[in-house]
């Protein structure tokens, strides 16, 4: 085994660890939202006026502060890991850009301190992360860059993790601000929740691209006819479900509908003002439910059925073609298992009156399902790309950048 192979293997392992840490971070964020403790620490990037890393343990272990502050510390760790991953992926070529970016972020952070009190937190945050980036640029690692397009994805992850951290902070700082009738805390919360899952997908893609399986082309076996269609439908529906779910969760209104499979005793509940008044009189939550929130949950239910059908369709295609033994067939089985679990958790969330652990498991499995579907989509795309390359006459130069297997 060459040194390069050894290095790639460790790089792959590290990328898997970063992706797993990110999934854990999503679980922690889900717990924060499920428990409704996102504002338990009212300031950012400080925590109760302390440097985030110096909050007294007695305060940290008080009620919802534990969940929110742990989420912040975990997020900081993921940020560090992503900078390290980029440094490893980018090799020596990444040093100068990291130095420049780190320096620029420090200067911008210092500049933001003077803009106003609302921006002071963002200024500290930017200056702090700029320092970490600068440090990564200073570290001398003698390795070459990874293959295309993983370095580009690494840079994307690098920018996303910073933006995501900033969004999380602004969700706290601007919680009370209203723009165009929308509370900015809610809007940033929805965006923060969705972007976190997109970020997980990106890191999973990096890990997949570095994996030995990718290099080996995932073994033999053609995708069954129609598999890609079911796969694409399942993935698009999963993305739609993520958006609807994030919108529901971040309104902090509890369950909009308490019964299942019926909704307020009907297949499609009435949402006129008289009906809403009666629903609200009988709700166990303090917050009133609106027609919009009821309709959101109804569309989420319909989306769940369609997603289940689409992913089951992809799995059935594999099963009928005898493809379940291939690596991508196994992944399809895993995806099918995840979506069945996800649907069960969705039902339990309603029937058990939204306990925080069940609602968080629903977020965690949803993220895992989205990532699995995205990886399958990439694999399908990779195989299509390979087939295209093989059709190109030998006399023509390959249109695929170097490094593509």
């Amino acid at each position: 085994m060459s040194n390069s192979d050894q290095s790639n293997r460790w790089l792959f392992r590290f990328s898997v660890a970063v992706a797993l840490c990110t999934w854990g971070l999503i679980c922690m964020g889900g717990l924060v939202t499920s428990k409704g403790v996102g504002m338990a620490v009212p300031d950012w990037p400080t925590s109760y006026g302390y440097n985030m890393f110096a909050l007294p343990i007695s305060t940290w272990f008080t009620g919802g502060v534990f969940d929110e502050h742990t989420h912040r510390l975990w997020a900081s760790t993921v940020g560090l890991l992503v900078v390290a991953l980029l440094r490893w992926l980018g090799g020596n070529a990444s040093r100068k850009p990291l130095l420049a970016i780190g320096g620029a972020e420090i200067l911008m952070g210092i500049g933001l301190l003077g803009v106003g009190p609302d921006w002071r937190g963002a200024g500290h945050f930017l200056a702090g992360i700029g320092g970490v980036v600068l440090l990564a640029g200073v570290v001398w690692v003698r390795n070459g860059p990874a293959e295309w397009p993983v370095v580009t994805w690494g840079w994307l992850a690098f920018w996303l993790v910073q933006f995501q951290g900033l969004l999380g902070g602004l969700r706290v700082v601007l919680d009370k601000h209203v723009f165009a009738g929308t509370t900015l805390g809610t809007a940033f919360g929805v965006f923060h929740g969705c972007l976190g899952q997109a970020f997980l997908v990106l890191l999973c893609a990096v890990a997949l691209r570095l994996s030995p399986l990718w290099r080996r082309g995932f073994g033999a076996g053609e995708f069954p006819t129609g598999f890609r269609t079911w796969l694409t439908a399942g993935l698009l529906l999963s993305i739609g479900q993520l958006l609807l779910g994030a919108l529901m969760r971040h309104q902090h209104a509890g369950l909009a509908i308490h019964d299942f499979p019926l909704a307020y005793g009907q297949w499609w509940p009435a949402t006129d003002s008289a009906s809403l008044s009666v629903y609200n009189q009988h709700r166990s939550e303090e917050v009133e439910v609106t027609a919009f929130q009821i309709q959101l949950q109804m569309w989420h239910r319909i989306g769940a059925v369609l997603t289940l059908v689409a992913i089951s369709g992809a799995w059935l295609k594999c099963w009928r073609a005898g493809s379940l033994a291939f690596p991508w067939g196994k992944l399809t089985s895993g995806w099918f298992g995840l979506v069945v679990t996800q649907a069960t958790l969705g039902m339990l969330t309603i029937l058990m009156n939204k306990p925080a652990d069940v609602a968080t498991a629903h977020v965690a499995i949803g993220a895992a399902s989205l990532a699995t579907g995205s990886l399958l989509f990439l694999i399908a795309h990779q195989r299509a790309l390979r087939a295209t390359v093989e059709r190109i006459p030998a006399s023509m130069p390959a249109a695929v950048p170097a490094g593509t297997p």
Binding site: V37, P42, T62, G64, K176, S277
Partner: protein, 239 residues
Amino acid sequence: MLMKHVLPYAAAMAAVAVSASAAEVSGKVSLKGTPPPEKAIAALKADPNCGKANAAAEVKTRLYVVGADSGLANTLVYVKKGLEGKTFAPSADKPLIDQKGCMYEPYISAVQAGQQFDVKNSDAFMHNVNATPKAAGNKGFNFAQANAGQVNTKAFDKAELGVRFACNVHPWMIAYVHVLENPFFAVTDKDGNYTFKGDLPDGKYTVEAFHMKAGAVTQEIEVKGGKATAAFTLEVKAQ
């Protein structure tokens, strides 16, 4: 001579002052129908600090607190119409919203716009006070009260029903503060009884009984000789 002219005016003014300052509106708010049962707050018991503070008691939600003869507690009764164009200086009284045993006390309170009120932490551990008013001109806040006995004084400038207070450290802790334009209001006691007193001149008014869950009902009342009574019935409709 002077006495002859002044005395009738003085007597008339005294009579007005007596009828205005002695005004008292009272009555009872009742609940018709069957409200959903209150639920035990499991998360409170599970929290090490809060569970210890409530070791002997089962703490339940307070969505509908119904007392003797179906009297509905925690209902705001206030003069909604009849005082247009009049302004009232904020009361100098400072109501207290306390955090005790990981619950807000009282659950429902009412203040006048501009009237100061105190928020206190009586627990030996930290709470945060996150108030989220919606009316333009009312500023929200979210601050920590880390120490037992800590008091912060706040006020809302604009009238608004049901300003939500929450502790996100202990997310079941919820309270509501009603902010009124005039000083003629009261929150019903455990048996649904209310009384408000003040300089309310004789005349006709619209009074509303407002409950966070049961809704609102209004009634025309007439204050005569500084007295009026009004009974309200709110209804929980069958689902």
